[in-house]
Amino acid sequence: MATPTRTRTRAGARRGRSRVPVVGIVIAAVVALAVVALAVTLLTGDDQAAETVEVADVDVEGEALPQLPGDGSDPAIGSPVPSLHGVSPVGGPVSIEPGDEPLLIVVGAHWCPHCQAELPRVVEWLDQGGAEGVEVVGLSTAADESAPNWPPSAWWEREGWDRPVLVDSADQTAAQALGVSGYPFFVLVDADGRVAGRWAGEIGTEPLDAAIAALDS
């Protein structure tokens, strides 16, 4: 025979029905929250980016680099880096191509939490004189309007990135040409236009410092 664990003497428990319209209150609360959400959204509106370009075609000159393997090796070391031609978020022409000085390409995806963590570190490093004598450019890739932290141009700007940014295409033409295997991604090109190093992920700035120092030696 079952023994009630507790003695219930209250009227509601005895009757098994409530005196308060609980279901009605719940439904009213849910509807009220829906109305509030709709009203707030209508009143505040979606933040639309100013006239910026977040995805654009990229022209590639030269042979694409092989994708960076995850085993620590890099078959692209010493290979000539392809030239990339496209536009910046404000629509002006931007090219990533070897010049007279070494080149560091910083590849980031706006929705990627590791990129969101790494970009401020890179900016701080650059502000403190990192990559001295090296041309630094950004590549905004994998842009997805349905993903968080949209638009990418606002993110780069918000993080204090004051170097040129090339906008990648919808099918990530530029990233594929550089052999990007994950985000964030870095490509260091020596003054002869050949790949000196590639890194994927949050690497901090020490490997970049070391690799740039090795270029000088």
């Binding site: 209250r10 509601g12 719940v26 929250l33 509030v36 939490p113 590791h114 968080p148 295997s181």
Partner: protein, 195 residues
């Protein structure tokens, strides 16, 4: 409604769920205080007949929200999202059937199930906050679990919503069944045993 409006709606529901759970915890911890004990008893008695149905409603809304994000908003679920779905979807199904049949016996198992799902949500929240917990410092283009597809009110993300739903469902399943329902369940068991 736009995705933004729906996300804000779900976020407000999560806040409401949090308030109920916090109130329940305060009621439980403060039951030595007569005023709190009296209020708690009144509220619990009023909610008691509907607790199982409300838990089913909470799990169903969470299930619908999950499907909305993947099928309407187009946010691809990550691995941890799928694990949480593995807890939430059966929970909704079981609770809806139990509520329809008035079978309160599922509540202990369902409560444990909901808490296990909530534990996965906590882990997902930690991964969101500390992406390195994924075991990699690289964003796989194929959708890591650290992406915050939604962030409303500054802190409410999808796993936070899931955690809120799991906790509210578990809290509602803590409410003892109405007395006559307990007897009905016992009678069912006795009938089964005498067969």
């Amino acid at each position: 409604m736009t995705v933004r409006a729906m996300s804000l709606f779900f976020a407000l529901l999560a806040v409401g769920a949090n308030l109920v759970v916090v109130a329940a915890v305060i009621g439980r911890l403060g039951r030595a205080i007569p005023a709190i004990a009296a209020l708690r008893a009144t509220v619990v008695d009023e909610v008691r007949p509907y607790a199982l149905g409300l838990a089913a409603f909470v799990a169903s809304v969470a299930t619908a929200g999950s499907l909305y994000y993947s099928e309407v908003a187009g946010f691809p679920p990550c691995t941890l999202c799928w694990v949480q779905r593995g807890f939430m979807y059966p929970l909704a199904l079981v609770l809806v059937v139990a509520a329809a049949r008035g079978t309160w016996r599922v509540r202990t198992g369902a409560r444990v199930w909901a808490l296990l799902g909530g534990a996965v949500s906590v882990w997902h929240l930690l991964v969101e906050r500390f992406p390195a917990l994924e075991g990699s410092a690289v964003c796989d283009p194929a959708n890591p679990c650290s992406i915050r597809w939604v962030q409303e009110l500054g802190f409410i993300t999808i796993p936070y919503m899931a955690l809120s739903a799991f906790l509210l469902a578990a809290t509602l399943l803590w409410v003892d069944p109405p007395h006559d329902q307990s007897r009905a369940d016992d009678a069912r068991t006795e009938t089964r045993e005498t067969r």
